[in-house]
Amino acid sequence: MGAYVIRRLLQTVIVFFGVTFIIYAAVFLIPGNPVAALGGGQPLAAPVVHDLELKYHLDEPFIDQYGRYLLGLLHGNFGTSVDTGQSVSSLMAQAWPVTVTLALTAWGIEMALGIVTGVFAALRRGGPVDRLMMFFSILAVSVPIFVAGFTAQVLLGVKLHLVPVAGTQAGWPESYLVPGFVLALFSLATVSRLTRASLLETLTKEYVNAAVAKGLPRWWVIGKHALRNSIIPVVTYLGIDLGFLLSGAVVVEGVFNLPGVGLLIFNAIQNKDGAVVVGVATLFVLVFLLGNLAVDLLYAILDPRVRYK
C-alpha cells in the first residue's frame, strides 16, 4: 500500500508540473508583446519599456518566470483580470459557491437516477427501461450540452413557466434543478450503462447463486450481495466525473446565466480576458488532478488487487 501511495503521489506531482508548464507556455509564449499592448499602439519610450519589463519580470528567462508563476499558484495567486483589475482569486471566491451547488446537484441526479435505472435495466434485460436507457445514452452523446440546455430553457422556462429561465434568484432547488439535470445528462447515461454492465456481470457469479440457493429473498440478494460488489467501478467513475462536471459547468452556467466560476470563464472568453480564463482553468485542472488522486487512493483501499498492478 505504502509503495503504491508514494508512486501515485509522485505521478501527480509530475503531472502537476507538466500541466502548469503547458498552461504557462500556452499563455506566455504567444505572439504579441504585452508591454507594447499597454501603450495602446503608440510607441513607448525606451526607459518606460525597461521599467515595465522590470515590474512584470519580462526580462527574466522563461524558466524563472515559470518558477515565479508556480510560487504564485502555491500562494493562491491565480493572476489578475486585465478587464477589471481584480485578482482572479477574489473573483473565484465570490463565484465558487454557485458552481459547487450546481455540480453537486448534477452529481446527485446522476448518482440517484443513474444507479436506479442501471439496476432496473440489468434486472429486466431487454425490457422497456433497458431499451429506453440504451436510446437515451446514445442521445446524450449526440446532443451538445448547450443545445440541450437551450431547449430545456425555452420549453420549461419560457413556454411552460415551470422553472426560472435564468439566474439564481429563486435559490436552490428551483434555479439549479434544470441546469443540474442538463449538466448531468452525459454522465447519467454513463453511470446507468456502467451499473447495468457491472451488475449483469456480478449476477453470474457463484456466490450470487449460492445466496439464491440458500433461499434468500431476491431483493436481499441483489441489494446486499450483488449491488455492493458491482458498485465499485460506478463509484470510481462518479469520483472522476466531478472534475468533468466542473468543465461542463462552463457551458451550462453560460446558458442559464448562473453567476458561478464557469460563467466567469464564459464571460472572460467573450471579453478576451485571457488572465481570468487561465486562472480559473488552472484551478479546475488542479481540482481534477486531486480528485483523480483521491479516487485512485480510495480504490486501492477498497480493492487490494489494484495496488499490485
Binding site: V15, P31, I138, P144, T151, G243, V255
Partner: protein, 310 residues
C-alpha cells in the same frame, strides 16, 4: 460508400485470424460472418446510409444546396432576416438573411472534416506511439507514458480551451490540431495495452526465433492483430469530436466567421432563440443525427468485429 467504410474497418480483421493463425480460410470466414451480421442489422444499414449521405454532402455541398431555393450560403438579403420556413426555403433564413438550408448543407463540411481529421490523426499517433510503447517498453514507455499522463490531467474541452483562446487565428486545421493534442493519450494507451498483450504470444516468439527484425515483427505480425480495438474505438469517438467542435465554437474559441459550420450556426442562434427557434432546431438536428449515426455505426461495427469488447 458502404464498401469503403467496411473496407476501412475490415483492414485489421483479416489479420485477426490470418497473420496469427496459419489458416487463411478461417480469416475470410470471420470477415464473412461479420459482414453477413452487419448487412442483416437494420441499425447498421440505417446509420451507414446516413453517414454515406453526410459524406456525400461534405464532398459535394453544391449538389445538395441547390435542391431548394438559390442554394448559395453567401447570397443574403437583410430584408429576409430570421424569417421562418417558407416555400423554396424549407429551413427559413438566419439573422443575416442568408438561406438557412444552404448554410446547414455547407456547414457539414467543416464540422465533419474536424471529426474525421482529428480521429484519423489521433489514430495514426496512437498506432505509432502505442506500438513503440507496448513493444519496446523501458525508457520509451516511461517517457511517453508520463507525457500522456500530463495531457490526461486536463478535462478534455478545458485543455483545448486554454490553448485555443491564445491562438490569433482559428480554422479547421488549428482547431483539429489542438483537439488531437488532447485526444491522443486515450487511444495511445489502448494501443499500448493491446500490443503489450500480443508481444509475448507464441507467434511473435516464433517470428523472432526465425530471425525477423523488430520492425518486421511489429508490422507483419503484431499490428494486424492489435489494430481492431483502437480502430473501433476511433470510430466511436468521431461523433464526440464533432460535438466538441460545436461546444468550443459555442464558447467562442472554435471556428470563426466567415467559416460556415454547425457549431457557428448554433452559436449564432443563441441570442434570438426565443423568437426564432428554427435557427437552433435545424443545425442542431443535422448535428445530432450525424453524430448519432457515427456513434451507432461504430457501435454496430464493434459488435460485429470484436464481440469481446461488448
Amino acid at each position: 460508400m458502404i464498401p469503403a467504410w467496411s473496407g476501412q474497418q475490415a483492414t485489421p480483421a483479416p489479420g485477426t485470424g490470418g497473420a496469427g493463425t496459419p489458416s487463411a480460410g478461417r480469416a475470410s470466414s470471420f470477415l464473412g460472418d461479420a459482414w453477413s451480421e452487419l448487412v442483416h442489422n437494420p441499425l447498421f444499414l440505417v446509420s451507414a446510409g446516413i453517414v454515406t449521405l453526410v459524406l456525400a454532402i461534405v464532398a459535394f455541398p453544391g449538389l445538395f444546396a441547390g435542391l431548394f431555393g438559390h442554394g448559395n450560403p453567401h447570397d443574403c438579403n437583410l430584408a429576409d432576416s430570421a424569417l421562418g420556413p417558407r416555400a423554396g426555403h424549407p429551413f427559413g433564413f438566419d439573422v443575416q438573411g442568408c438561406d438557412l438550408y444552404a448554410n446547414v448543407v455547407y456547414g457539414a463540411r467543416d464540422t465533419v472534416s474536424i471529426g474525421l481529421l482529428v480521429t484519423a490523426s489521433s489514430l495514426l499517433v496512437a498506432i505509432v506511439l502505442g506500438s513503440a510503447m507496448g513493444y519496446l517498453g523501458g525508457l520509451v514507455d516511461t517517457l511517453l507514458g508520463r507525457t500522456a499522463d500530463v495531457f490526461f490531467g486536463f478535462p478534455f474541452v478545458l485543455g483545448a480551451l486554454i490553448i485555443l483562446i491564445d491562438l490569433p487565428e482559428r480554422n479547421v486545421l488549428t482547431v483539429s490540431l489542438v483537439l488531437v493534442i488532447f485526444g491522443w493519450p486515450t487511444m495511445t494507451r489502448l494501443m499500448r495495452s493491446t500490443v503489450l498483450s500480443e508481444r509475448n504470444k507464441d507467434y511473435v516468439l516464433a517470428a523472432r526465433a526465425l530471425g525477423a527484425s523488430n520492425f518486421r515483427i511489429l508490422r507483419k505480425h503484431i499490428l494486424p492483430n492489435a489494430l481492431a480495438p483502437v480502430v473501433i474505438y476511433a470510430t466511436l469517438t468521431t461523433g464526440g469530436i464533432m460535438v466538441a467542435e460545436a461546444t468550443l465554437t459555442f464558447l467562442g474559441v472554435g471556428l470563426q466567421a466567415p467559416a460556415i459550420s454547425w457549431g457557428l450556426e448554433l452559436a449564432a442562434a443563441q441570442n434570438d432563440l426565443q423568437q426564432y427557434p428554427h435557427l437552433l432546431v435545424f443545425p442542431g438536428l443535422f448535428l445530432s443525427i450525424t453524430v448519432l449515426s457515427f456513434v451507432t455505426l461504430g457501435d454496430t461495427l464493434r459488435d460485429a468485429l470484436d464481440p469481446r469488447l461488448r
